[in-house]
Point group: C2
Chain length 684, copies 2
């Protein structure tokens, strides 16, 4: 989409401009008057002049070109105004007005009417129920943020689903002099959503980093597609707020409940290479520093004037999965020459508490030769020259452009000016070691991200059966379907009478498992409807009588019974696996492979992949705990069988969009075989 | 110990006071001149006057009483000066001087000489290699911290093992006006260590919270004893830096490698009810706010003017294991009356973006009736009156003394004054929701801590065999010992010849396991020295030939062989458990119960307890993943058997201090039995 008229509009109308200085429409007009250099047209049905600007009664009264309209009138009037804007050939409207979906039924109706109109119109809309948009080059501030908050120009674009968080961050950013390229409050995203905004910002050459505050997504798959494209050239930083409520299916399916609320977002962010931050202060640091830094190594050098600070930083590195760089003899020899006796010439390099700025400088100069990220730690001590030290660090940075140097100045009054000095030079400067570590961790993960390939998944030529999927399937009905899918199941027979049971037993052979067949009982084990390890005719008879009487106790009327081969009763090495799929409302199917059997819910040990599974996903599974257990236990071929089943199930889920959940638990993995012994399919 | 002469000394001597203003001895004297109100005696062998004070050549020249000596002379002279101090009846010495254990061999020798002297002298020593001590009432600053850093009086005492971290925190605290009761740099802790300092501060009525920066401990058991005592009346906040290196035994024993570096400290902090913080900024917040707050409920109320901020705060609450309080109809009805339509009257209460300070006030007034912790969130928006809002919040706090109210003001310039206002009133004020949540989590865990009881452990009357423990024990030798301990093992026989093997087999019965018996091979499976599931004489013969030939291939000369009953080959429900003990150098024995078998190392699922195990430890084990698997799988009696074995092993470790590690893996748990089938004991 061409966003030129959004970000460099020729003519801006403020519809709902107000004479009352406290009103939103008045604040927006004021912000625009201060910041926008083009023609500004206040629109107000009753006024002819506001803030010394000629004011129009309606947008059609304006003769000049208007690219962008800011709408801040009551919700009821918005549709009418949008229609007027369409006639006037306005390209973009930012609808500030609240009172839509977020406020209940009648608001939802208004929102749907607007949606219907937008389907056939050319005008594009941001909002409603949003704070507005800020651009820094060319400048305009079309928000009702306090005019004292004025973000400078920078290379980070910020998209926020929360207006309040946005205004807090803009306020903080003004104080900290953090620059932005664009700031967009996305609101209800009736038309332009987060995914489309990513696409717009990907094409924006003023933006080199995109930060997002997300609570949910209107279209997960579009988000993945666009975000993947963005990640090729620009890091995406995400603070994810809230936990998505899962469908009712999660309660009944093992896979769904193992996946939890957070997994699908984790998988989506992993797939697109987005950096997920833990909290608002991390988001803040990334906004400031990510545009100026690329981290290509996970081996870090620490230079410190305080042993304790070095220890704390090393702990943080190790918790983040990063490593202390090995220094090599050349470097340590050089350090030994420059540093006094008692200094630690290994990593973390300790320049000692009495280190002068010059000593700091020479140590950093030496380790900079390794071309690896450097964290410098300064703690005010005997010789406390923070500013001078900061200046020396800055000199090293000038000599080594592109080298990530992350200075941490611990302390308050004595060092605040040093941090300020570095930030004014566009260098990072932190108060605590973990801040530097978080930045390195995020930017390193971005730099090692590669676009997913799907050769294994696509290499499996498999036409999954499409089924009617109008009800849940358990027991024999599910077994038949899995057989059809080409997934090996334990032999089984349905029967109704004791006489048929004997025939079934002679066909299947002992040991076997007897199950009650009523499809009204999902969890048959709970009412004593399952007997395993039956080895003789007598045991079978006893099991049958027991199941019947327990069914009666539980007021369950069995329609039929099922007899399966008990494949678990064997000397062969085996493990019990859970293999399942869960359809996430946002991102489509997730496939899970976990430790199975009756301890699945307790262990909560499962590995999830987004469907289609990338080659990396499959490789990562083999390195996961579950994957390592499978490969420790069984032969290589069986791992391939297991993954083959996983891919078949994924394709089955794609072919049958009405199926919400699918569970095989347990799936027995033997040294030479993979056999499903219990299976459930849920359509709702 | 009576610390009166340490904290309210009558007469302070500064030995090593210097005329050179850059020298440590000069800075200390300057700090003391500014802060100490008693008689100050500079001591310097060459000067008669320093900083306008009469100066003594040696301490014996002083006629007046001197309770405290600050020693800042080169390491070599410290012992002599301490002897002079002892003669002069000085009660305490703070030895600033570095150049001891931390600087190598000759320093260690000096340190040991001083230690020897202190064993028979009355003088007590803090340091050496420390930054000094600060007291705020009565005031004295006996450190070489920059005189511009002047901590105010407060109720938090801070003990630090890192001088640099201490000076950074004092600097920051000065800027933030955070008060302290005492600040102690513990240094090499040659005499008074962290544990003793805890004991001193426990008796100090000026101190209500103790914060610690720890890297290691000189005496873990003494620390536990004293910290437990402190926790009865004062919260202990700990930032733990560094990871303790484990002994070599960790490499060979499963239990040791599962425990990792961090577990023993975790267990110790849990036992004493200490609050462990994640990083320096958390430590800082606790130092400031813990003295003024007690949190007795984990049900939290959030009042916000921004939905997004409420979402982020709720996420943080849930990650910390806290809950949103249920409000009840009375409260929501009252809120509905006071708040405008569109406001959320449920928790998190959303007073909306246009909330006035009065609206905030009335919402908080209402929810305060529930007497549960309240987090208020303020984000600068349309009606942005942060200071006025802060004032209203403060009014509610005045009306409800003791109620934890934790205001969060998101943003920078616009809200900084609001935070400042509240802090000046001794109220907390944070920039980010997670800060408030961390404080609540920590103080709630402190308030629910109770002193451990040991009725179950002590109730097991068991005299553990004491053994010579001069070498590692594997195989049959270990089995004999476990039999003696009363821990059931699988039947087994040692044999040398094929003929004896047949006798062994007929005694034990099939199925059985054949193992090579050379005690030079710790991991017998790796060289093919173990064959399981042997069911017939023929299979046994084949297994025997196989083991012999593989031993030859691996250049292992078997001394003998072992034949065990293969208890795993059964239809009975069973799980494989790892039961082991690891002796931690700091805190003594840790007992671990984990998922066992060949997947133990992959799953890393284990529960650890400090020996002796408290009743709560044992209850917590039953609720752990491993405990829940055991109780799902087997009968109640077997859980008791398992814990009985655990206690026996703990008592065995206590009776045999030379044993470093003990592993049973796997321990088979059947529905009616617990049987150890592989066991190792390591003495080094």
């Amino acid at each position: 989409m061409d966003a030129k008229s959004l970000f460099s509009p020729e003519g801006v109308a403020v519809i709902g401009a107000s004479r009352n200085p406290g009103k939103i429409g008045s604040i927006i007009l004021k912000n625009l008057r201060i910041t926008y250099r083009g023609r500004l047209f206040p629109v107000n049905t009753n006024a002819s002049e506001i803030q010394s600007l000629r004011t129009y009664h309606r947008i059609s009264d304006i003769k000049e070109q208007v690219d962008l309209a800011i709408i801040a009138i009551p919700a009821e009037g918005v549709l009418k105004v949008l229609k007027d804007c369409e006639k006037k050939k306005v390209r973009f409207a930012i609808v500030i007005s609240a009172g839509f979906k977020e406020s209940g039924e009648s608001g939802t109706r208004l929102e749907n009417e607007i949606k219907a109109f937008l389907r056939t119109s050319r005008i594009r809309v941001i909002g409603p129920n949003c704070l507005g948009v800020i651009n820094t080059n060319p400048t305009y501030n079309a928000t009702f943020i306090d005019p004292n908050s004025r973000p400078a120009e920078g290379k980070t674009a910020f998209i926020s689903q929360s207006g309040a968080l946005l205004s807090a961050i803009v306020d903080d950013a003004t104080a900290e002099k953090i620059g932005f390229s664009k700031i967009v409050s996305i609101g209800n995203a009736i038309d332009i959503d987060e995914a489309e905004m990513l696409d717009i910002l990907q094409r924006d050459d003023k933006t080199s980093v995109i930060a997002l505050y997300l609570e949910g997504l209107s279209d997960g798959k579009k988000f993945i597609k666009n975000a993947q494209e963005v990640s090729k050239s620009k890091p995406i930083i995400i603070l994810k707020g809230g936990t998505s409520k899962m469908g009712a299916s999660a309660v009944t399916s093992h896979t769904g409940s193992l996946a939890g609320n957070n997994t699908s977002y984790e998988l989506a962010f992993k797939r697109v290479g987005a950096i997920r931050v833990k909290n608002i202060d991390d988001l803040f640091n990334f906004m400031r520093d990510a545009p100026n830094m690329r981290v290509k190594s996970d081996e870090i050098i620490i230079v410190t004037n305080a042993g304790g600070a070095g220890v704390v930083a090393t702990d943080a590195l190790s918790a983040a999965g990063l490593r202390l760089a090995k220094m090599g003899n050349n470097i340590t020899n050089e350090l030994a020459k420059e540093l006094p006796r008692g200094a630690n010439i290994n990593n973390p390099v300790d320049v000692l508490g009495d280190a002068t700025p010059e000593r700091y400088r020479s140590a950093i100069d030496i380790v900079a030769k390794l071309n690896k990220p450097i964290i410098t730690l300064f703690s005010p001590q005997e010789v406390s020259m923070p500013i001078e030290t900061a200046k020396e660090i800055y000199e090293v940075q000038l000599k080594n452009p592109g080298l990530p140097i992350l200075p941490v100045f611990l302390g308050g009054t004595q060092v605040e000016k040093a941090r300020r000095f570095l930030r004014d030079k566009n260098m990072p400067a932190y108060s605590y070691p973990h801040e530097a570590v978080d930045i390195i961790e995020g930017l390193y993960s971005y730099s090692t991200f590669s676009q997913p390939s799907f050769s294994v998944y696509n290499g499996v030529k498999y036409k999954a059966p499409a089924i009617r999927a109008d009800k849940n399937l358990f027991g024999m009905a599910a077994k038949d379907l899995f057989d059809k899918m080409g997934i090996k199941t334990a032999p089984g027979v349905v029967f109704k009478t004791e006489q048929d049971m004997r025939k079934a037993a002679s066909k299947i052979g002992y040991p076997c498992v007897l199950k009650i067949g009523s499809d009204k009982v999902v969890h048959k084990g709970e009412i004593g409807g399952v007997v395993v390890g039956i080895k003789t005719d007598e045991e079978l008879k006893r099991a049958f009588d027991g199941v019947k009487s327990r069914a009666a106790e539980n007021h369950v009327k069995p329609i039929d019974y099922e007899l399966y081969k008990d494949v678990s009763r064997t000397d062969k090495t085996r493990i019990e696996i859970l293999l399942g799929a869960h359809r996430d409302p946002q991102f489509g199917t997730m496939l899970g492979i976990g430790l199975g059997g009756e301890y699945a819910e307790i262990l909560q040990e499962a590995f999830f992949m987004l469907v289609p599974m990338s080659d990396k996903d499959l490789a990562d599974f083999k390195n996961s705990k579950v994957g390592r257990i499978v490969s420790t236990a069984v032969k290589r071929k069986v791992m391939d069988d297991l993954l083959g089943y996983a891919i078949k199930i994924s394709k089955f889920m794609e072919a049958n969009p009405k199926i919400k959940d699918l569970d095989i638990n347990p799936l027995f993995i033997f040294d030479d075989d993979v056999v499903a012994t219990d299976f459930k399919i849920f359509v709702e």
